[in-house]
């Protein structure tokens, strides 16, 4: 039992733009969104910058209702709405035309900002507003915010596999469709910058005090970001029945766990190689057929070295002909949203033939230097693209998107 899975809609809010087209255009133009962080105080941190997003206005929410939303929901609602609109699934009132819509979502911190305020309130014995803080910090509250804002209900699943979650949520949506458990799924991820997470990466010395330089020999750490990105996935028949034009197909999904260490990939990259092979095998393609790879590329010393090794092992001789970049130099590491927003970038590369450049690259890791995308590159006629993510806990996930070949 396996039905083909097509993508029919995309939406995103990123540090580069309030919707997906703006984000993509800025990405292709080579802009990066790193800036001094103003959301909370960072006086005791090593790093003081991040890629924060401008929150799109929510015209159908009152000022009071908007204040009650977690920052994460302020990112997720417009991104989900854009995805449904681009799939032709939004009515004139801005509500989903499908009342029963499966929702597969990734996040790592949910509405943590409310959790932080709650703890501060408890420590200060300030009991005002405790309920409103605590009741809205758990991730299911942002799911409910999106469901109620867009007028749909149905099965939902929240995957929290750290930084691979976004790819997992999309891959899981494809599993649901291909096994007949769902016909149409809104899938993606969201993540808002929060002090707890920012300080967490900072105390692990994983954030850079310099620029974020993925796959550079002088890389010194990651840039944290925030975003939300969603796709509409549906079975080929479902799309055809409602006359929706597929953007592409999702043909491969692999996920594994690297048991080496909680926060570091195994030095041989075996789990990452395995996950890329699993996704390519499911797609029925050879590595050489992958035109563009959106790499994880956090720019931490541990990640990128192992990742470069794994890409070299996976692509073999084809490493010279494939094109690779990490878009985290531009939008930062958006954690639970990363796998989703990067999947959108890979799909748009497939659709347009334009390739996101590898920013901030001066002295590339020699093994994959020939594959890293330069400025203003394009590659017409790509048939397949891949997006890979690695996360804490050794979570690895890879997705393959292919040009739609259905009649």
């Amino acid at each position: 039992m396996s039905r083909n899975v097509v993508i029919t809609g995309m939406g995103a809010v990123t540090p580069l733009g309030e919707d997906f087209p703006d984000s993509w255009n800025a990405l292709i133009a080579g802009r990066d969104a790193a800036s001094p962080l103003a959301l909370f105080d960072t006086a005791g941190c090593r790093c003081h910058h991040a890629a924060s997003a401008a929150l799109p206005p929510l015209s159908d929410f009152s000022a009071k209702a908007t204040r009650r939303l977690a920052r994460a929901s302020r990112l997720a609602i417009p991104a989900a709405r854009e995805a449904l609109a681009s799939a032709g699934l939004l009515d004139a009132g801005g509500r989903s035309t499908l009342r029963d819509l499966t929702f597969s979502v990734a996040t790592t911190a949910g509405g943590m900002t409310f959790g932080e305020t709650f703890l501060r309130g408890v420590l200060a014995r300030d009991r005002a507003h405790l309920l409103s803080q605590v009741s809205r910090y758990l991730p299911q509250q942002q799911i409910l915010d999106v469901q109620q804002a867009l007028g749909f209900a149905g099965h939902s699943v929240i995957i929290a596999n750290a930084c691979a979650s976004g790819a997992n949520a999309i891959g899981h949506a494809a599993d649901l469709i291909s096994t007949g458990a769902a016909d149409c799924v809104l899938a993606g991820g969201f993540e808002a910058l929060t002090e707890l997470v920012f300080v967490g990466f900072d105390c692990l010395q994983a954030t850079s005090t310099d620029r974020c330089r993925p796959f550079d020999l002088n890389r010194s750490g990651l840039l944290l970001g925030e975003a939300a990105a969603f796709l509409v996935l549906e079975s080929g028949e479902h799309a055809q029945r409602r006359g929706a034009a597929p953007i592409c197909q999702l043909t491969g999904y692999g996920h594994t766990t690297d048991f080496f260490h909680l926060t570091q990939p195994g030095p041989d990259g075996a789990a990452l190689i395995e996950v890329m092979r699993a996704a390519a095998t499911q797609a029925g393609i050879a590595p050489a057929q992958i035109g563009y790879l959106n790499a994880h590329g956090t720019a931490t010393p541990a990640n990128d070295g192992v990742e470069a090794k794994a890409h070299l092992a996976f692509f073999g001789d084809a490493i010279g002909s494939t094109r690779i970049s990490s878009t985290k130099a531009a939008i930062g590491h958006t954690l639970g949203a990363a796998g989703a927003v990067e999947a959108l970038f890979a799909i748009e590369a497939l659709r347009t033939g334009r390739l996101p450049p590898q920013l901030n690259l001066e002295t590339p890791i020699p093994e994959i230097a020939p594959a890293l995308v330069g400025g203003k590159e394009s590659s017409r006629g790509m048939e397949h693209v891949m997006s890979v993510n690695l996360g804490f806990g050794g979570s690895n996930a890879a997705l393959v998107f292919s040009r739609d070949s259905s009649p």
Binding site: M1, A43, G44, C45, D100, T102, T107, T108, G110, G115, L119, R120, G121, V122, L123, R127, L130, L131, V134, S135, L138, P139, Q140, Q141, I143, L144, Q147, Q148, A153, H155, S156, V157, I158, I159, A160, N161, A162, H172, T179, A181, E195, L196, V199, G200, F201, D202, C203, L204, Q205, H255, T257, F259, L262, T263, A271, G391, F392, G393, G394, S395
Partner: protein, 345 residues
């Protein structure tokens, strides 16, 4: 959705003790704990005894050195459910764990350090362990599972999502069997949270629950006709924000089910208890005998109730309805069956 999952292993850690027998029969003793925001007025709480000898072997595991208490609950419940499964078969076993608050103890300690002592005091040892999927990664690694591993999050209904996901993995052929677990750990901070949500009651304590903790799980594979106990179907996605919406969702949920099916009641003492009683009043209620009250531990509770409902299945009760009352997002339910007994003459 049809699940057709055969239950082939089970494990539990609860305030009643370690193992299924304790889960079904032993009465846990509450301890008194202060809420940090209201010292001097303690609440009764149900805790897991980490000094139980069953945990000693896990405390010697190098991989679990920094792990949170929830990881120990999980690894013990997981090992019980995997009893008799060979290393080769474990390598074909997927893992899905449903969480509600996750590693709340370390998250509280980590952020409290930042608030009270400054960002420079933030603990690098604690932060990675606060991430939802850290316990999942630890137990997959320690128990030699194959690496297909999801951490799912939500209210009690995340347990329903976890079993639905297991069914999809099995249909997809990703793994041969799936270990599905739910877990919750207690930290005094949650008392402030539950208190502000009015989930705890000093007056009329029977209308408020006891905060609890633990883990439980089942090992499942695709059912075959010979199987003794299966989780036949699952339903979820009935969302609500207000009490009124919850009431309408409950009516709809139960109205869809065969009225002759006996119902297992699980919402005792939580805020949906009255709604559960009302919407199931015309059904036969599964007699729970002397099963003791274990408090509220969200996805762990949902897993405990599933194990207890499975224990009630027999020739007199060959099919049971098990509603899952999510406390802050949605409602769901399972239908449990004993097909073998059903086909008996």
């Amino acid at each position: 959705m049809k699940l057709d999952l055969a239950v082939i292993g089970r494990g539990a850690v609860s305030p009643a003790g370690v193992g299924i027998d304790a889960l079904l029969h032993r009465e846990p003793t509450p301890v008194e704990v202060d809420a940090p925001g209201e010292p001097g007025r303690p609440w009764p709480v149900l805790r897991v005894d980490l000094n139980d000898p069953a945990f000693a072997r896990w405390q010697r595991e190098p991989r679990l050195r920094r792990a949170s208490s929830m990881t120990f609950f999980l690894v013990e419940a997981a090992e019980q459910a995997l009893a008799g499964v060979s290393p080769a078969d474990r390598a074909e076993t997927g893992l899905i764990v449903a969480f509600s608050a996750g590693c709340v103890g370390y998250s509280r300690r980590f952020f409290e350090d930042i608030v009270t002592r400054g960002q420079r005091s933030a603990s690098p040892a604690l932060f990675p362990e606060t991430v939802f999927n850290s316990p999942v990664s630890h137990i997959a690694s320690v128990l030699g599972l194959n690496g297909a591993a999801y951490a799912l999050v939500g209210d009690e209904t995340a347990w329903v999502a976890a079993l639905r996901t297991a069914s999809v993995w099995l249909r997809r052929g990703r793994v041969a069997r799936v270990l599905v677990l739910g877990a919750e750990e207690f930290d005094p901070l949650v008392l402030d949270a539950y208190r502000s949500a009015r989930w705890l009651r000093r007056q009329n304590p029977a209308n408020g629950f006891l905060a609890s903790e633990g883990a439980a799980g089942i090992l499942v594979r695709t059912a075959v006709p010979e199987d003794a106990q299966i989780i036949a179907t699952a339903r979820d996605g009935l969302i609500y924000r207000t009490k009124k919406e919850a009431s309408a969702a409950a009516e709809r949920l139960l109205a869809e089910c065969d009225p002759a099916l006996p119902c297992y009641r699980s919402a005792r003492r939580n805020w949906l208890g009255a709604l559960e009683e009302k919407t199931t009043e015309n059904r036969t209620v599964v007699p729970l005998g002397n099963q003791p009250y274990l408090g509220e531990a969200f996805t762990a509770s949902a897993a405990w109730h599933t194990l207890r409902a499975l224990a009630c299945l027999d020739h007199q009760l060959p099919r049971i309805l098990l509603p899952v009352w999510g406390l802050n997002h949605q409602l769901g339910l399972f239908e449990l069956e004993t097909p073998k007994t059903q086909s008996d003459p």
